[in-house]
Symmetry: C2
Subunit: 250 residues, 2 copies
């Protein structure tokens, strides 16, 4: 009997060339498909479909994917069965059985990402792959919060979209954009109904420039209105970014 | 003018074959000596002396070493000058000028280590090199604390010393041995005037066996009295161990 499975996975993006399969590169998708294909006796390649891709060095704590299985492994042992064969930089957190028409990408209702800056003067060697170092610079978070208000809501976010994209409709809705201090680390948590290519990293890079006084918060209004990538700030580095939650309709 | 410098360093032990120089291996000591030697114009190898060695995959947040320098770099820029040349898995936290007879090993007054177990059911991929997984097992910490009472004080700690050691006097004093929960992670923090080879990892491994009911806490009294390594538990894995502080007389 064929069952459709929804898997929630976490991965340390450090040693991956991103999520999506690419020739001659180590990718998250390929590692998972390899394990599933072996589990299914190599009859055919078991393909997995994720909520979307993540770039090289970007992490995930709650990426979601779906695949079809013919195995009779009980649901409560499925995650463990995958984890014993997967490399330790990918962990399956949860496996659920879903309706046969569930689609991890088409059904996405929203996503939440986290971006982390490490503001220690001497960066901890333990955080070098997991946060973006600021070399001791502490930004003005109140200004970053003011700037964030111009990003909330529904806009054409062309200003925050990498130029090399084929997506035509760039209207998205950002429903929440918050900042939290965790010790010396600043977290930006952003939720929306969908994100364009590099959108979170460009928002992080632009708000960072506000935080260090290179731009003022009110400029964000013009940047968003410009519908032009060149008006926004630099793309923040990948290692600070985490795909945290993917939302689906109940 | 020759100055003696005391450096406090942190390192991620994951990609090192330990602290101490070994032929054809990547070690912390060699990386630091390479950078110092280049900074000193390659006139001769600048040797560094640490408080003691750490094994492969063991971490440090407060290892201490000394070396002599003829460079006129101001004290407040010395750490930065080293950090720009060091690999990112070693960071110099602090450099101080000390008396010419300061010795990072001979003058050690005491040390503090931390051992971390990750008790999550599915281990976070982000903690795989930084904590020892328990596969969801949560130990009885109250029993571990009772057992720890038999370790406190001055004893011949042969029971907690790796067999392959050349040290003759195995009497040491453990001044504190505490447990703390940090979320799903259990930390053991141990302080003493000195530690034998693998002593912290054997204590961690033995107390862990108490925590999971494989031994009872009162057995620790006999283990310590036995002066015999074979009575104690397994050596806990290296990636959970951190050298945290080295103490010197004021």
């Amino acid at each position: 009997m064929k069952r459709r499975m929804k898997a929630t996975i976490a991965y340390d993006g450090t040693n991956f060339s991103g999520y999506q399969v690419q020739p001659n590169q180590r990718t998250v998708q390929e590692e998972i498909e390899k394990v599933l294909t072996v589990m299914h006796k190599n009859e055919k390649i078991v393909q997995v479909t994720a909520s979307g891709r993540t770039d090289a060095r970007v992490h995930a704590t709650g990426q979601v994917l779906h695949f079809d299985t013919t195995l009779s492994i009980p649901l409560d042992r499925y995650a463990h069965a995958l984890n014993v064969q997967l490399p330790s930089d990918i962990r399956v957190v949860k496996v659920e059985e879903v309706a046969s028409d569930f689609h991890a990408r088409y059904n996405v209702h929203g996503k939440r990402y986290r971006y982390i800056w490490s503001c220690e003067k001497v960066q901890s060697p333990f955080r070098r792959f997991y946060a973006t170092p600021t070399n001791g610079v502490t930004p003005d978070v109140e200004e970053m919060k003011k700037a964030a208000q111009y990003i909330l809501g529904t806009h054409d976010f062309s200003c925050f979209c990498a130029a090399n994209t084929s997506v035509v409709d760039k209207v998205r809705t950002v429903t929440a954009l918050e900042f939290e201090w965790h010790g010396n680390e600043l977290h930006m948590i952003i939720t929306g109904n969908g994100f364009l290519y590099n959108m979170v990293r460009i928002i992080a890079g632009t708000l960072w420039e506000v935080g260090i006084g290179k731009r003022n918060s009110a400029q964000l209004k013009d940047i968003v209105a410009s519908i032009n990538r060149t008006t926004a700030g630099k793309t923040a580095p990948p290692q600070g970014l985490y795909l945290e939650t993917v939302y689906y309709p109940e």
